[in-house]
């Protein structure tokens, strides 16, 4: 049996999915967190059943890629759990009525049930059930309330074969239904509801946005630097260095195997960035330089996501984003890109047109450094002075604006208008915030650390074989001629294809001036996405658009690097 979880965006399908299948998926408080589908397994009547978390949709007439996926999934299912936000019966019933017109058994999960009471909403369950003609089960996925009851009733799901109605007929019916089953007690606005309204009003909205964004930045830096300075650096320096030095002595202090495993000694000492051995840089870069920022960035992003602030930012930035050929909602993939470009490229599926998706994905890959790259920029460029870090960020921001404007002017078509639901603010329970953070940290450790170790190994082997010298001489005209970088840095650019953090670490191996470090970091960020992003981008854009996007990346990296080389 194949069970589909369907419903409007942001009604808690993913949380319900986790409850049913035990598979943990990311969930947030904004429409469009789930853009692909996830499958898991559960048991109904002791028989195994497949559960699928379908992207949210308002209607079965799709308006974007994520909704198209939802419609395709519908044709493959055996039973649909129509997930409804009980605090918002009217709007949610529209999709449910459409589902009841289809030839598939439906059961309704009236989710967020615990929220109805303090919002002054009273729903007559029995009446709703008899009008719809399918089982209606109140649930609260967050607390687990009603889940067992829901599973028990899945076999009772039925297909009432309702006649196909027009849009107006459906809304008339919804008015009729809610009039019969729903009672709303009027109550005064709460403080957070006033805050909700204030955060989309022109003047207050921008003040709140400036406060939220600058506070986020400082908290991310504070926690990140704190973890590095008080936890990871002392751990590596005081505990790990002695172990490595013993190992180094044991291996004779030099030689190929020594350099691969421990790394080259620099004036007789281990240097955690420059030694570049598997057990020195291979561990220090991901664990002590990048991981602290992964923790701090995703803690803050997770909070902003779950509170429900991001759609409001989309409203405020809509006018600006239109100049880049996008609409405000593209700020969500962009912010996700500051963490990792892979989910960012996937998140462009919430945008309506192909043109918009192309622009958004290309801009993310070029001008949005992921948290791994940023951590290294702070660590390495920051040594020369904060002003150089500022130059890197300012340049990337200008590139984002200018390139977006150019793409908007040169590509055919218009940017569609914004049309989004603004979710209410919710205070996320700490447990869910930390669970989500843990998932993202685990993802980083599982995916990034092996690739970084592999990169360090490959670099060492190729170095000994002299392959890099050959390429370096070949690429010298561009690298030294246009960008003004030492020709050895070509190795870093090649490694940038694997991972940006390892590549930036490589960059620091050759003696660099502050200017070279700035240009190197910018070129590395812009030049090409890392392999994981590359694969996703190719899949999302298709070969032709991908090649176009890659062409833009390479040429803009060289142009911007060249200009900086002249200006700085």
């Amino acid at each position: 049996m194949k069970i589909l979880l369907m419903g409007n965006p942001n009604v808690g399908k993913s949380v319900l999915f986790s409850r049913l299948s035990g598979v943990r998926v990311l969930s947030s408080n904004y429409p469009g967190t789930t853009v692909g589908y996830t499958r898991g397994f559960t048991k109904v009547n002791n028989e195994p059943a497949e559960v699928i978390d379908v992207p949210g949709t308002y209607t079965l007439e799709p308006t974007c890629e994520a909704e198209e996926i939802a419609l395709k999934m519908l044709k493959t299912g055996d039973v649909v759990i129509s997930v409804i936000d009980a605090t918002n019966l009217e709007r949610n019933l529209y999709l449910t009525l459409q589902l009841l017109e289809k030839d598939i058994p439906v059961i309704v999960a009236l989710n967020l049930w615990d929220d109805t009471r303090h919002r002054g909403i009273n729903i007559d369950l029995d009446k709703l059930q008899s009008i719809l003609g399918v089982p209606v089960i109140p649930t609260s996925a967050l607390t687990g309330y009603g889940i067992k009851n829901l599973v028990k009733n899945i076999p009772k799901a039925s297909a009432p074969h309702a006649p196909t109605r027009s849009l107006d007929e459906r809304w008339a019916l919804i008015g009729n239904i809610t009039g019969q089953v729903q009672q709303i007690t009027h109550r005064h606005h709460r403080w957070y509801e006033r805050l909700e309204d204030a955060s989309v009003k022109p003047r207050f909205g921008y003040i709140i946005a400036a406060l939220v964004l600058s506070a986020s930045f400082f908290i991310i830096r504070f926690i990140g630097e704190g973890l590095i300075g008080y936890l990871f650096d002392p751990l590596f320096n005081n505990l790990w260095t002695p172990v490595l030095m013993k190992l180094s002595n044991f291996m004779g202090g030099g030689g190929f195997l020594h350099d691969v495993i421990v790394g080259k000694l620099i004036s007789g000492q281990i240097h955690f960035v420059e030694s570049f051995g598997l057990l020195s840089s291979g561990l220090y870069v991901p664990l002590a330089m990048v991981l602290p920022y992964i923790v701090s960035f995703y803690l803050i992003l997770g909070l902003l996501e779950d509170i429900g602030y991001l759609p409001r930012l989309a409203v405020l930035l809509d006018t600006t984003m239109h100049r880049l050929g996008l609409h405000g909602y593209a700020i969500i993939p962009t912010l996700l890109g500051l963490g990792c470009n892979v989910p960012a490229v996937l998140a462009t599926r919430v945008l309506e047109s192909k043109r918009e998706r192309f622009i958004a994905a290309t801009l993310v890959c070029i001008a949005i450094p992921c948290v791994s790259a940023q951590a290294m920029i702070f660590g390495l460029v920051g040594k020369y002075g904060v002003q150089y870090v500022a130059i890197v960020y300012a340049t990337l921001f200008i590139v984002w604006l200018v390139l977006g404007t150019i793409l908007n002017r040169t590509m055919k078509g218009l940017s569609p208008e914004l049309l989004i639901e603004i979710p209410p603010y919710r205070l996320p329970p700490w447990r869910t915030v930390f669970q989500k953070l843990e998932m993202r940290i685990r993802g980083f450790l599982v995916e990034a650390v092996p690739i970084i170790l592999a990169a360090v190994l490959v670099i060492n082997v190729l170095f000994v074989m002299g392959v890099f010298d050959y390429i370096a001489n070949f690429a010298a005209p561009v690298i030294t001629g246009i960008l003004g970088l030492p020709k050895e840095s070509v190795t870093a650019i090649i490694i940038g294809f694997l991972r940006k953090d390892a590549a930036l670490g490589m960059l620091a191996l050759s003696p660099m001036t502050a200017k070279q470090m700035v240009i190197g970091s910018i070129v590395l960020t812009m030049f090409f996405p890392c392999i994981a992003t590359f694969v996703v981008l190719l899949k999302e854009l298709g070969l032709k658009d991908f090649l176009k996007s890659a062409g833009i990346m390479i040429s803009s990296a060289i142009i911007v690097g060249g200009i900086l080389n002249i200006l700085l």
Partner: protein, 80 residues
């Protein structure tokens, strides 16, 4: 008083009279409950002809200024 949604002031209520647009727009708005006859409250317009935020049913929806200009509303004046 009849005005477009974009002309309405913040905190005013009214009911939608008609929506000038193709079937595609009507479907997209309709799925969110924005249909003729519906009572709405305007919450804000972002600066520089930015998106208009409204409350419809129990949902807040933000829609582009252009879309909002196509929605004709019978505004209740003096009633909050």
């Amino acid at each position: 008083m009849v005005q477009t949604l974009s002309e309405m002031r913040a905190d005013e209520c009214g009911s939608i009279l008609e929506i000038h647009g193709g079937q595609g727009l009507l479907n997209r708005l309709g799925a969110l409950g924005i249909i003729p006859g519906k009572k709405i409250t305007k919450i804000s317009t972002a600066s520089m002809r930015g998106p208009v935020t409204i409350q419809v049913n129990r949902t807040q929806v933000a829609l582009g200024f252009g879309m909002a200009s196509k929605i004709i509303v019978d505004v209740d004046r003096g009633v909050k």
